[in-house]
Symmetry: C2
Subunit: 415 residues, 2 copies
């Protein structure tokens, strides 16, 4: 397997002002392309450090990728440092220089000499078009090694990197299927379905459990195993049934959106402890207006009774965190917002507000449709943020299961 080293460059990174998301993205992609990432180095914008670290990296790795340090100011030293480390010259790319000057004139009315800095290219490197920003990427192949230089902003880095994945792919490139589940504990899943999961010794199995995404099974092997991996994945999908909420790159909200959109149906939410998180996550999806009416965030009991018309007797008898309350919230918000379905969530996210019978982490959920309502209570662990994120995931899951049940009922009644 070929080795790779990723360099993330910028004072803002080593001073802790921003989080490096580029390296996560690149290391995940590089694994699939068949590289072993021996390390990621985050470095300041300092020429001597960059030259020394690049030189060390070039001795050890088959592939070097840098992100950041390609701006037009004096701080931006990645180009210079890599040229020095490689013992190559920097030359001006006249076509890019011309574009940069025209762009500067158009936007700022003047084009100082410094704008041309971004047109400096390591001699022999191919220029990688930047569809979003001004600094192009560069790729150089030298003595069997590949050096790739990319800009720092993720919106610029990602499309440039995607344009070269086929070029740098190795014979060790991998094929991966991801099966995302909820409602079955990791240990139970891996034990009950082990005959399927481990049926092919050539396939590597990994699991990952998280409060935000449930339990994910990853099946990985060389690209030649594609059909075999797909076969195991499809057997596992069949066996797990509705416990699978999504596969591969889909999120749970994507799946709920698709279920609604394909059937021209709509949804609304009534949120208490999640406080708008379910709604906001759903609105992350462009075009969601086709299926999403809106929500009532009933954070106070007053809003639960005044806007959502939950009878005061329910709150007095069972409390605001009860299946009775979320049932009423769900049914009423569905009618109030004129949607086909609705979800309601009420719980205790903490840190305070817990009692002996309803400790922090108690969260009630309801799904409502014109033909049935389902409720469930979960006891969640973790801090306020974890409880709210897990509740958001579970809310989408009760929506997914409810919509599937409703669609099945409709099929039966049609027959």
């Amino acid at each position: 397997m070929r080795n790779a080293i990723i360099f993330s460059i910028g004072n803002e990174l080593v001073e802790g002002l921003i989080i490096d998301t580029n390296s996560k993205y690149l290391s995940e992609k590089l694994k699939v392309l068949g590289y072993y990432v021996v390390r990621i180095e985050t470095l300041p914008d300092k020429l001597d450090i960059l030259v020394e670290r690049f030189k060390a990296g070039l001795l050890e790795a088959d592939l070097i990728i840098t992100t950041g340090g390609l701006g037009p100011t004096e701080d931006d030293l990645t180009r210079e440092a890599m040229a020095q480390a490689l013992g190559c010259k920097l030359v001006i790319d006249e076509k890019i220089a011309q574009e940069l000057v025209e762009r500067a004139l158009k936007y700022y009315g003047k084009a100082p000499e410094s704008v041309k800095k971004q047109a400096m290219v390591i001699e022999g490197a191919s220029v990688l078009d930047n569809p979003v920003g001004t600094a192009p990427g560069q790729m150089l192949q030298l003595n069997g090694k590949i050096v790739i230089i990319l800009p720092g902003p993720p919106a610029e880095m990602i499309p440039i990197f995607e344009s070269i994945t086929q070029t740098i792919k190795t014979d060790d490139a991998l094929y991966t299927r991801r099966i995302k589940t909820l409602g079955i504990p990791e240990a139970v899943l891996m034990n009950e379905y082990k005959d399927i999961i481990y049926s092919n010794p050539n396939i590597t199995v990994a699991t990952m459990a998280s409060y935000e995404r449930g339990v994910e099974v990853r099946l990985t092997g060389s690209t030649e195993l594609k059909e075999e991996i797909d076969k195991v994945a499809s057997e596992l999908l069949n066996a797990l049934g509705e416990h699978v909420y999504a596969t591969d790159d889909d999120s749970i909200e994507d799946v709920v959106y698709k279920l609604l959109s394909e059937n021209s149906l709509t949804i609304s939410f009534a949120e208490s402890c999640t406080g708008g998180m379910i709604s906001s996550k759903f609105v992350d999806i462009p075009g969601v207006s086709k299926v999403y009416k809106g929500s009532v965030i009933a954070y106070s009991n007053e809003v639960k009774t005044s806007v959502l018309k939950v009878p005061e007797s329910i709150i007095n008898t069972y409390g605001a965190v009860s299946e009775e309350c979320v049932k009423s919230m769900a049914e009423n918000v569905r009618i109030l917002l004129n949607s086909d379905f609705s979800i309601a969530v009420s719980g205790i996210a903490g840190p305070s507000g817990g009692t002996e019978t309803k400790p922090v982490g108690t969260v009630c959920f309801a799904f409502s449709s014109d033909s049935f309502t389902r409720t469930i209570t979960h006891h969640l662990r973790g801090n306020r943020e974890m409880i709210r994120k897990r509740s958001t995931l579970l809310a989408f899951d009760i929506a997914r299961r409810g919509i599937l049940e409703w669609l099945r009922q409709r099929e039966v009644s049609k027959e």
Copy 2:
């Protein structure tokens, strides 16, 4: 200045499964404690790589901090690797071993020998208590160098690191003031207030502009300059007036929460394009129920008219993205949810939905109180996510300015 290297350890990091937030936290803190972070290295759980990289780091840096790789399984190799790199032995800490065995018996009913792995300590190191998890931290001083070993989960790493900041602080420790502004472009701010900002040549000035947080001015210097830095900060605060939305660690939602809480006032929101993001961010604050009633997420026009009672004539005449519409949304949600104040937001987050007169990024905001309503329209740049995040920031800012105006009016009327 003393040099530091941070090592983040874990296969899940170099395979891109999770994002490294520890290094951001540590590098920000180390700067303030007087260290220059020469690099951050992210490494896999592989003994030979770890030993080699730790050895290289020990030659270069005065302070080495590792996070991760302290679990009880065979994958977790940080302890062993650091002992080898230092040429020291690992010894068992009997007190911790005893605690780990008792804990395992309590939670799992059995205590395999492997639980004692987490009690292995580098000879001569002090044990750093882990108040949250099982793996303690370790600190070793050797030949004028400091080695600190911390667990990977942030909830465990942070309190342990905080317990030793006073011990590792250098004579170059820094004092920083952060002034966070909105409503004045970075270039204008730095030019108009340069006489204050640059009044003391011993103070280092840095600015950071972001769509999520506005423009931040950082004043930094040695801890001995504390009074001088505070003086410049306070002059700048006076000069900038209401453009300053927060200082130091406060966020804009913290400031709105405090303004409401200190005056026993309440707020509600009517959101369209932000889709619950304003609400969800506010509910991140524990105890927010004191000041927050709830929200109506009126994503569809139907909900704007049916629940929020925006007259259809307003939507037909001016459109849903208009100051007229948000004014009506804000006034009506305030009355519907019985709060002292309200904020309404309606805009075009894209990628589709833009028109020639109202392109993607057009966002209207309204603040409503019992005595006045204010509206404003912003034209924002960026993708859907950036527009929604910027809108959320601006919504809290119009709330902050509106509440301050209302409080001033109340003061005047009392006189």
